[in-house]
């Protein structure tokens, strides 16, 4: 019996599996990928991850199928020769492998860059953000301290509150800073993650697209209560936001005159007991 054309068989198997699996991954798994679709930026993350998963699926299948094929068809017979034929290089295969993988990686790098340029991707961009979404924005300052986040709204008298509530369909300009050590502000469902460094104004943009609650966590190990540095934020309608901010202004009126003037960073005193 003549030896079958293993390469052709493997390629056919691979193409068939890829044609079936890739659309399934994109259509069925894609919408389940994190962080969801709570904001323009979060949706962008999900799209990016879906594209990555879609591109990775044929690559993964090729590796797994080749392994399975080799184990199945190139298995040594019991009592057969102990040593197989010598492995030789194949310039054609090597060239194709380099061309295909390089193309994939470079294409994904270009794709990721375009996505980042569009809206900042919800990432902390430092004090001078390069990628600024157009249109009107609501500034919200995130102040991290050991071990809680508080929030200031400069366009509403600079009030500070321990709650984060933002209006839907509005571009939010987060200014993230810290009063002590390094923290990191992570609003998971919004796709926002920005380091909170003392004396640094780290700007991140997000445009929430649906009214929902989102979890907030510190994602930088910052001390004994790091694991408890979490909170729940809320995206609400513009009308509900206006009502909420008015209520917060009333609740925190007794302390508002003690707050420092709004600034992008703070060097609070005391820096230590007795200083």
């Amino acid at each position: 019996m003549s030896e079958p054309n293993h390469f052709r068989r493997l390629m056919l198997l691979w193409i068939l599996a890829s044609v079936i699996a890739t659309p399934l991954v994109v259509v069925l798994l894609g919408p389940l990928l994190s962080p969801g679709t709570g904001s323009v930026q979060a949706s962008g993350h999900q799209t990016d991850t879906t594209v990555l998963a879609g591109v990775a699926t044929p690559v993964l299948l090729l590796v797994v199928l080749y392994l399975a094929y080799a184990v199945t068809f190139f298995r040594q017979e019991p009592g057969g020769v102990l040593e197989g034929p010598a492995i030789r290089s194949d310039a054609r295969v090597q060239t194709w492998w380099i061309v295909i993988t390089s193309t994939l990686v470079l294409a994904l790098a270009a794709f990721g860059t375009v996505e980042l340029v569009g809206d900042g991707a919800g990432a902390g961009e430092g004090p001078n953000p390069a990628f600024v979404p157009s249109g009107k924005k609501l500034q919200v300052q995130v102040i991290a301290q050991e071990w809680a986040f508080t929030y200031r709204y400069p366009s509403y008298g600079g009030i500070e509150t321990p709650h984060l509530v933002i209006p839907v369909d509005t571009t939010i300009e987060f200014h993230v800073t810290s009063l002590d050590v390094i923290h990191s502000f992570w609003a998971y469902q919004l796709g926002v993650k920005a380091d909170a460094n003392p004396q640094v104004d780290n700007v991140a943009f997000v445009k929430p697209t649906k009214e929902e609650s989102f979890s907030i966590r510190c994602s930088e190990l910052c001390g004994i209560w790091h694991g408890y540095m979490f909170d729940t934020g809320h995206v609400v309608s513009p009308a509900a936001f206006q009502a909420w901010i008015k209520q917060q202004q009333a609740v925190f009126a007794p302390v508002v005159h003690d707050l420092p003037p709004y600034a992008t960073t703070y060097a609070p005193e005391p820096s230590g007991r007795g200083s």
């Binding site: 102040i143 301290q145 050991e146 071990w147 809680a148 508080t150 500070e160 321990p162 009063l179 002590d180 050590v181 001390g223 004994i224 209560w225 408890y228 909170d231 609740v251 925190f252 007794p254 302390v255 003690d258 707050l259 420092p260 609070p268 005193e269 005391p270 820096s271 230590g272 007991r273 007795g274």
Partner: protein
């Protein structure tokens, strides 16, 4: 050689496990009433130095103490009933050092949004006068504790501090929620000599932070 390394590794692991799981004993606050009228009384004191009796390892560390059966106990884990009012009395013996974030000078999350300081009802204090805070972030309870003046004539050096020493008496009431473990902490940088004064007793259970075990 291999056995020696394994034994040494196991001993290190055991030491770390014991160290990491060492918690002060929980103190149950006395309760009264039942059902929706159930309430608990939690009596605390803050001291500038916990003293060698309560903490031979760190006698100079600032600390909270809790009262249990008429005695002061060195613990910051308090057992409280769920969905109940908790009447808190804090005898504040420590001096002021000020808040790094003045926002925390306002009382929030207590019944009526107020506390009393030496019998006077207050909604906020001067942030510079803060000595400590009692904050339970998960319950939204924020209470700043005003410090004893630096010109006090009879300050308390080491715990336990009796009422004859200069102090402020702070009272407030808050409501617990569902059963669970809630952390509480001080937000004033009061751990002198550590990074941002937030090390040592601020990062060691049993001194300036702990848990409310709501059962």
């Amino acid at each position: 050689m291999v056995v020696a390394v394994a034994v040494f590794g196991a001993l290190i692991g055991l030491y770390i496990s014991v160290w990491a799981t060492q918690l002060p004993g929980a103190v149950t606050a006395p309760t009264s009433g039942s059902g929706s009228t159930k309430s608990a009384n939690l009596t605390l004191e803050t001291v500038a130095a916990v003293g060698p009796v309560y903490s031979p390892e760190h006698p100079d560390w600032v600390s909270y103490l809790v009262q249990s059966h008429g005695h002061w106990v060195h613990s910051t884990i308090f057992t409280l009933p769920a969905h109940s009012l908790v009447h808190v009395t804090i005898y504040q013996y420590d001096g002021d050092s000020g808040l790094r974030n003045p926002f925390l000078a306002e009382v929030e999350g207590t019944v009526g949004g107020v506390m009393t300081v030496d019998g006077k009802t207050m909604r906020a204090i001067n942030p510079d006068d803060a000595s400590h805070t009692f904050v339970v972030p998960q319950l939204g309870v924020f209470v700043p504790l005003v410090g004893v003046s630096s010109t006090a004539k009879n300050p308390c050096s080491y715990a336990p501090c009796g009422l004859s020493f200069d102090h402020h008496t702070i009272t407030f009431t808050f409501r617990t929620g569902k059963k669970g473990r809630y952390r509480w902490q001080c937000f004033v940088p009061c751990a002198a000599g550590t990074l941002f004064d937030f090390g040592g007793p601020m990062q060691t259970l049993g001194y300036m932070d702990g848990f409310l075990d709501v059962v």
